[in-house]
């Protein structure tokens, strides 16, 4: 946590102070820049004939003297989270950065890797994998899409060896996950620069370009100066445990019924969008096939599952669940085709799996996010498939 003795709520207040400091530093940069411009425009001149042999080098030296120092300090202190070291201010960071950091800390490649969206955040990967005498890591990320699934499976497979490799990758999937920006936010740009090499090429370029923009910025330098001048100890703390899973989120207090209804009402629109009936994105389908091909080459099993949906969602929406089931079947056909062609692929549709979907607030915190008990039920439902997938991987 922050160590800022004068502030009782250091995190929030420091952020505000940092914003003011950044504004101040921008003004300082601007003022210095304008002075240099005035010097260039209005400064004295020498007579013709002065040696200009080194003019270009001197000019480049001027640029590098500033950019060199700032680049080194930005790399070391990593104020904007371009790299996975020296992470700070974890509240503002995307799960991609935090989990990348955690993944890099692992001594060996985990046997079971869970990929997905916020729905999968609570999966206790290590604890669950231990039941099969294996290791596990929860690499689910905020607003996960096929770009994440491709990047992270590519990463885990590329970093593995014949002996030390993941055996099973469990992927939460819905049709819109195949559209890289279905939730309108290009979350993939939050991957650290070390992970860009594992991304699909066009997304890698976009991510690098974003990093370049946030890296060489006055605000980044300001953050370094702010932190160092006040000796603020930003921690490498994170809101995930070492296996990437979030802390347990137990069932909501029944007294807080209003809170549940509010959450339900706050998420049904997003879920409704996620359950659309549109044709899956062709680019996303290609990436899906690439994941499958990669896993085939490396003899790794893939378990895809369609996550459960809270039945109360249909009540709020006043829609027939059958409507969504038709959409689910359409997407399921695609997944079953892939499963049929590839012996290492397993697919389970849990969207209307009764023991889960009828659980209401005992298993869900809103229309589709499970609480810890719900997550345990989900893992139980997946157990036979994961067991089969492990057996398949072992047989290879």
């Amino acid at each position: 946590m922050f160590q800022c003795p004068e502030l009782s709520h250091p995190q929030l207040l420091s952020k505000e102070t940092l914003a003011e400091f950044t504004d101040f530093m921008r003004t300082v940069f601007l003022f210095v820049g304008l002075l240099l411009l005035a010097n260039l425009g209005l400064g004295s001149r020498k007579n013709q004939g002065e040696a200009r042999r080194y003019s270009f080098r001197v000019w480049i030296f001027g640029i590098l003297s500033i950019l060199g120092v700032t680049t080194i300090s930005l790399i070391i202190f990593n104020p904007v989270g371009v790299f996975t070291w020296n992470l700070n201010n974890d509240q503002g960071k995307d799960t991609r950065l935090v989990k990348s950091y955690l993944y890099n800390q692992l001594n060996s490649t985990p046997d079971i890797i869970f990929l997905g969206s916020s729905v999968s955040f609570l999966i206790p990967a290590q604890k669950y994998a231990q039941e099969f005498s294996l290791s596990g890591f929860n690499f689910s990320v905020q607003g996960g899409t096929i770009v994440d699934y491709f990047t992270l499976s590519n990463l885990s497979m590329s970093r593995s060896t014949n002996i030390n490799k993941p055996r099973v990758i469990v992927i939460e999937i819905l049709s819109p996950h195949l559209t890289p920006t279905f939730n309108r936010i290009p979350y993939y740009k939050n991957y650290p620069v070390e992970y860009v090499q594992y991304m699909p090429l066009n997304f890698a370029f976009k991510t690098l370009s974003t990093h370049l923009g946030s890296f060489f910025a006055a605000s980044s330098i300001s953050e370094v100066i702010f932190v160092k001048s006040r000796n603020l100890q930003f921690s490498n703390s994170h809101y995930s445990s070492s296996d990437g899973s979030r802390e347990r989120q137990d069932p909501l207090d029944p007294v807080k019924d209003a809170s549940y209804k509010k959450r339900l009402a706050g998420t049904w629109k997003a879920l409704d969008k996620q359950l659309w009936c549109k044709e899956p994105d062709p680019g996303g389908k290609d990436l899906l096939r690439e994941i499958v091909a990669l896993s085939q080459q490396r003899h790794i099993s893939l378990v895809f599952y369609r996550p459960p949906i809270n039945k109360d969602f249909y009540v709020v929406l006043k829609k027939d669940p059958a409507h969504y089931q038709r959409c689910a079947n359409k997407f399921g056909q695609l997944m079953k085709q892939i499963q049929k062609k590839n012996s290492n692929v397993f697919y389970v549709d849990l969207s209307s799996y009764t023991p889960l979907s009828t659980g209401g607030k005992t298993l869900f915190i809103d229309s589709h996010h499970l609480n810890s008990v719900g997550t345990d039920h989900l893992l139980e439902a997946l157990r036979p498939t994961i067991q089969a997938a492990i057996a398949h991987a072992r047989s290879q």
Partner: protein
Amino acid sequence: MSFTNYAFLLLFLPLTFWAYYKLFKTPRGKLYCLLAVSYGFYALAGWQFVPVLLALSLLTFFLARKEWFWPGIILNLGALALFKYWDFGVENLNALVRLLGHSFALNLLSLGLPLGISFFVFKHISYLLDLKARRYPASTDLFLFLVFSAYFPQISAGPISNFKDTSAQLLQLPERLEKDQQVSGIVHLSMGMAKKVLIADQIGILINTSFGKPTYFAGILPAWYMLIAYALQLYFDFSGYTDMALGISALFGVKLPPNFNNPYLASNIAEFWERWHISLSSWFRIYLFAPLSRFFLRKGGPQNREWGQYTANFITMSLVGLWHGASWMYVLWGIYHGLLLSLHAAWKRAGRQFPSWVGRPLLILSILFGWAIFMSPNSDFLAHLFASLFGIAGWGNPAVIRTLVRNNATLAILAGVLLAFSGHSEAASLFKSGTSIPLWQLFSAGVMVAICILLVGHVQNFIYAGF
């Protein structure tokens, strides 16, 4: 892709210079390099419009070879009309049809605007008109013409150069750059970037966020603040771009024509147009105003010479206004300048002259009123702005005035005013007096560029690249 984009400054430009000087040793090789890089630059800005640029360049080249000048001109103008003015025309036509009580409506095309179309189309037209007037022969070198047409330092927003001057240089691209050209290039580039990032964009951040807030334009103090700020933003944005374009081009060994010469130091409106966007005003003077004046002189005879000139002024300036964008406000701005130029011509013809202490402030005021029209998105905004400028809306909201004064834009405005009226606001003016730039100033120019790169995150697009 913009000149102030990180990818351009830190990757595209250094790699291009490296390839240009290290991989290509002959002038022809360098020409091919410039062709590839120019099309690469254009593709990065919007790959879908590459066929438009290529097709128009090829057609212009081959039509010129066949001496089919008018089809070439019509084709280029047609493309400009289609991409830039079609939707504007359709909207107005539909409004007129609705006014007449009919329900018929044409569809908008919403094609988008290819980067720099107003500039490369004008280069093509000047080429065709020059050939028609037998000023020089048609080029037989397709690659040379394609580079002239797509040359990346000037594709986004000019300056509009003519084929004869540019092609002569493109055929003799130097193997190594002379030191003088090198210094000229880096000083132009540094100063252009500083004008854009440190002045224009600091003001731009304020102006862009203020358009949705009526209080920022209400009251005499905020209104004058914003108008002066806009006048400086527009000037430093465009002259900053131009200096960068001239600097980058100089580093390839190609000298482009200047676009600005301290315009706010002009002593009258005619001189202002000789100092502001010089390549465009020269284009219109040579290819439109002069032929129009001759036409009216022929038709009206010497006794109506003045009226012929006034009419030519109005037509030329209206089209200058329309060139800036598909909006009636730009046309109105053009007409306003046509009126100013005609009044100036009449005043001069009558042998009258203002003393400079009256003339200069009057000119600045006239230009500022012109920018009020130029900046207004519609006539309602303009009416409110003028009401505020003349004090009808009071002094202004004190909270807004405080916010404006404390804004970084105020610092940029002060520096902008100092520079604009110093006579040294163009990089070219630093090389005029037979002196050279000392090494320590080149070092500080480098530091200044580094600071600009750090502040680039807040950079706005170049205003003229949108015209």
